[in-house]
């Protein structure tokens, strides 16, 4: 085994500043290379497939618009996850919060049928926020005051939310159910938003849903909230050391509830956007199978819960699922597409390790260690080399 170089992981004391932002793109490139190998091994032409993927996700007419459509809900749920995960509170309940937000938004949208579009939109958003926040509040209060594990409670609430939707639309004659025609009575369906109340889209060649723009704005707002406000300061302290937070007079229980409500509200906006932008009525089955909430967690994790990063990763994940949807067919089984998507997501997620460790090949033992510096010159050179580096900024990156 002597011919094998020794390979070690070595902890980085201080990762260079550029490394954090640079790793995800590098990981994507590496993943594409590995994916190409897989395609090649399965007898396909990777260049051709990648060209088709890019076309299907970005360059075909309407392709990028579809990518944005796929990105919108996971952008919002991604933000919802990012807010709490940053604070080391594990709200995995965006799925349920989205659904309950959708329920209230759908009600608001159909109830105020006589109003103008901006008024209806505002009411729907408000309803979505209230619904999502309420659903999150259950887990938040349990966690803050009874110290119940929020992972379990939010997960359980994710199971309950679709049942409520099913009940409202399929198993009862609730307000949400469309009972206007004979057909609707036999095949249960929710009430549809009036056409003039569909949420607007922007752009001509690339069509941007309103919800996406809202998400992008929210991302910037949240970034400022965490970085520059007193509230964000409290979040950072509590995340780093809860004991120090209490010591500093931060009401940690209340802070936790507020952060959970905020997260639930953003997930609720995703629900409102589902109704207003896309489905225009409550679609219990689609919402249940879409698992936007869980995908949002992955989206947020890819960029280490950085709010603005979530916008980028939501587009990436949106593009992947959109391309996969369009490409699957005779010569390209869905499984193979899934493998490629999986490789990309796995590598981006795993690449974080490289910001904390570096790979050392060879250089072991006494053979190759550096000799001590000869006098002053050796040590000064080191100072200069390191002097260029800047201290990192801690948790607020």
């Amino acid at each position: 085994m002597r011919w094998l170089p020794e390979i070690h992981f070595e902890r980085r004391l201080k990762p260079p500043r550029w490394l954090g932002p640079a790793t995800p793109p590098i990981a994507v490139i590496v993943a594409l290379a590995i994916g190409a190998l897989v395609l090649w091994a399965s007898g396909r032409d990777p260049v051709d497939i990648y060209q088709r993927m890019v076309r299907a996700a970005f360059t075909n007419p309407g392709a990028f618009s579809n990518t944005l459509v796929s990105a919108t809900p996971i952008l919002l749920t991604g933000l919802a996850a990012a807010i709490t995960f940053r604070m080391k509170v594990w709200n995995i309940g965006a799925d349920g919060q989205l659904m309950i937000g959708g329920v209230l938004a759908a009600a608001a949208g159909t109830f105020f049928a006589g109003q103008s579009l901006p008024v209806v939109m505002a009411l729907m958003l408000l309803a979505g926020i209230v619904g999502g926040a309420l659903w999150a509040a259950i887990a938040a209060v349990l966690r803050a005051y009874l110290n119940t594990n929020e992972v379990l409670t939010t997960l359980m609430l994710n199971y309950i939310a679709p049942l409520i939707l099913f009940y409202l639309v399929f198993s009862s004659t609730s307000y949400w159910r469309d009972l206007s025609s004979q057909h609707a009575k036999v095949f249960p369906l929710a009430k549809t938003l009036a056409e003039e109340h569909f949420w607007p889209e922007y752009g001509t060649t690339v069509v941007v849903p309103f919800g996406f723009i809202l998400g992008a704005v929210l991302a910037v707002v949240l970034l400022f909230l965490v970085r520059s406000t007193r509230f964000g300061f409290q979040m950072r302290v509590s995340a780093d050391s809860p004991a120090a937070g209490r010591y500093a007079g931060i009401r940690t229980g209340r802070l936790l509830v507020v952060v959970m409500l905020l997260s639930g509200a953003v997930a609720g906006i995703a629900g409102a956007s589902q109704i207003g932008d896309f489905s225009h009525r409550l679609e219990p089955r689609n919402l249940q199978f879409a698992v936007y909430g869980y995908t949002g967690i992955a989206v947020a994790a890819l960029v280490r819960y950085h709010p603005v990063g979530v916008v980028i990763s939501a587009v990436l994940v949106g593009a992947l699922s959109n391309a996969g949807f369009n490409l699957q067919g005779l010569d390209l089984p869905l499984g193979l597409i899934g493998v490629n998507q999986g490789i990309i997501l796995l590598l981006v997620a795993a690449s974080e390790v490289s910001t904390r460790y570096r790979l050392v090949i060879g250089r072991r033992g006494r053979d190759e260690t550096r000799a001590p510096p000869d006098g002053e010159s050796g040590s000064t050179a080191v100072v200069d080399g390191i002097g260029n580096e800047r201290p990192s900024r801690g948790a607020d990156s």
């Binding site: 406000t229 780093d240 500093a248 050796g378 800047r390 201290p391 801690g394 948790a395």
Partner: protein
């Protein structure tokens, strides 16, 4: 560099050596061409001001950091450690100030955790327990191998760490400020064990800021200053006392300020008053039993006691961090509601907790963030809901200069040296000009000159009219600074003495649970 084959006797003497070790962190050279030898059979002290690079050097010797330049040698052979595991294999072991024990496991389990020698894949409990007991006996370190670690005192835990080292075949033991967490008795015991190790031919590297203990215990000293070796002495041939060591470290004599009791504290209303305050620990055992105390403006009340007798609970109850099970606290004339740290600090209470990193400071945040940990709500630091970075930085800069902290505003607190982190905490709390200051072990981990400047700052604060409750295990410090001394034992105040008439012996009797009559003192 000498090749392995041509070892001389001289190199045989050294268990571990450093040659020209240089290590830079952003903005600071922590080690600058350091030469250092730990010899067989000696206790070697490493001295230096806060941030002079002692801990960094030891972390390099044990493979936690890699040097930028220079060479570590073991028994004369160049080595290159990649991890502490490599260093264990070479017989070098470091006991950090924060122990790395699993508290739900027994002593024996902790000793073998993550460690298996050949042929020892299965954990043979009996055998390990016996071996641990034998090692304990060899070094006079009493600890029950079957005890669960969470039940052990700090001193006992430290012994477990040391046993772990020897179980794993340590030849060189590095102790980073081991006595800062020990009672004087425990420290005495530790010294006996360390001497025993040295006499058996092992080598011990000992870091401490307590210079009298260094001059009593150690065979040699090496002094670091701003990263390079500024002096060394052989204490076996030349006798250097604590003052001499201080001079070696800081280049001048340090005279500790003491309380001058010329201006007596008036009969003013107490600024802080506790009446029959009781509290419990997390597991429900009583931590404080009907504690009654009062501190007047301008007065320093020292709370003396053996560590673990309710001092932590006392500070936390006053600061509102722990609920009380009975009694009342009055802060500046008004009752203080329990469990509300913010209310306490808004009413002029500053608190330096015993647990610095993690409670008093948020280790993963920057020094700047930590300087405004409590004051971030102040109007002048922000605009509306926003915090203005420039203003925070300006305040931080002022504090760092005033308290002579070695570190930059944007470094993480975790990256500061132990003493400098302590200074940041003290800087923040003292500079808030509190009316009432509760401070636990204020000078722990500080070098002599920092110790002196903190002592005079405390005296200044008292002269300004602050009421100071100083909780400390350092009796000498209490005798020097306090006006009155309250002695705490098993959560109860054994008695309150006037510092003028008190001597260490009296206080000692009270600390052991004796009464005022036993101590033969007159209550003030």
């Amino acid at each position: 560099m000498t090749a392995a084959g041509t070892r001389t006797q001289d190199q045989d003497l050294h268990t571990v050596s450093a040659r020209g070790i240089t290590k830079a962190f952003p903005g600071v050279v922590a080690n600058d061409g350091v030469d250092f030898d730990a010899d067989r059979g000696e206790v070697h002290a490493l001295l230096g001001e806060n941030g002079s690079g002692k801990t960094t050097l030891c972390k390099i010797l044990t493979g936690l950091y890699r040097p930028d330049a220079g060479q570590v040698l073991v028994g004369g052979n160049p080595v290159s450690f990649r991890s502490p595991a490599d260093a264990y294999e070479a017989g070098i072991f470091m006991v950090h100030q924060h122990f790395s024990l699993v508290s739900s496991m027994t002593v024996a389990e902790n000793v073998v955790l993550g460690w298996h020698r050949e042929k020892r894949r299965v954990f043979n409990r009996r055998q390990v327990e016996e071996e641990v007991a034998r090692a304990a006996e060899r070094f006079d370190m009493h600890v029950d191998p079957r005890a669960v670690v969470s039940r052990l005192s700090v001193g006992e835990r430290q012994r477990v760490e040391i046993l772990k080292a020897f179980y794993r075949g340590a030849r060189t033991l590095i102790l980073d400020e081991p006595t800062s967490v020990l009672t004087p008795q425990e420290a005495e015991q530790l010294f006996v064990s360390l001497r025993r190790m040295a006499s058996e031919g092992e080598s011990v590297v000992f870091i401490s800021h307590k210079l009298d203990e260094v001059s009593a215990l150690c065979d040699r000293v090496t002094v670091l200053r701003q990263g390079h070796v500024s002096g060394s002495a052989d204490l076996r041939t030349t006798s250097v006392d604590a003052r001499g060591l201080a001079r070696m470290m800081v280049g001048r004599d340090i005279a500790f300020s003491r309380r001058s009791r010329s201006e007596p504290v008036g009969e003013s209303e107490p600024a802080l008053e506790l009446r029959e305050v009781s509290a419990v620990d997390a597991d429900g055992t009583p931590a404080l039993r009907e504690v009654t105390l009062s501190v007047r403006p301008g007065e320093i009340l020292g709370v003396a006691g053996v560590a673990g007798n309710g001092q932590v609970a006392l500070g936390e109850v006053i600061a509102g961090l722990r609920d009380r099970t009975g009694g009342d606290i009055t802060l500046r004339g008004e009752p203080l509601a329990p469990g509300n740290p913010r209310a306490a600090s808004d009413r002029g209470l500053a608190y330096v907790p015993e647990d610095r990193i993690g409670t008093g400071l948020s280790p993963g945040l920057t020094v700047a963030d930590n300087c405004v940990l409590k004051s971030y709500r102040q109007r002048q630091l922000g605009r509306g809901p926003f915090l203005v970075k420039a203003r925070i930085l300006a305040r931080t800069q002022r504090l760092l200069e005033a308290f002579n902290v070695k570190g930059t505003a944007d470094s993480l607190v975790r990256q500061l040296s132990g003493g400098n982190a302590q200074k940041v905490l003290l800087a923040r709390e003292i500079s808030s000009e509190p009316q009432v200051l509760v401070v636990a072990t204020p000078t722990r981990g500080l070098d002599v000159s920092a110790m002196e400047s903190i002592r005079s700052l405390l005296l200044e604060a008292a002269a300004r009219g602050a009421a100071i409750l100083m909780i400390s295990e350092d009796l000498a410090e209490i005798l020097d600074l306090a006006d009155r001394i309250a002695v705490i034992s098993r959560g109860r105040i054994q008695g309150v003495l006037d510092a003028d008439g008190a001597d260490a012996e009296q206080v000692g009797i009270l600390m052991m649970g004796g009464s005022l009559e036993d101590a033969g003192a007159v209550a003030p």
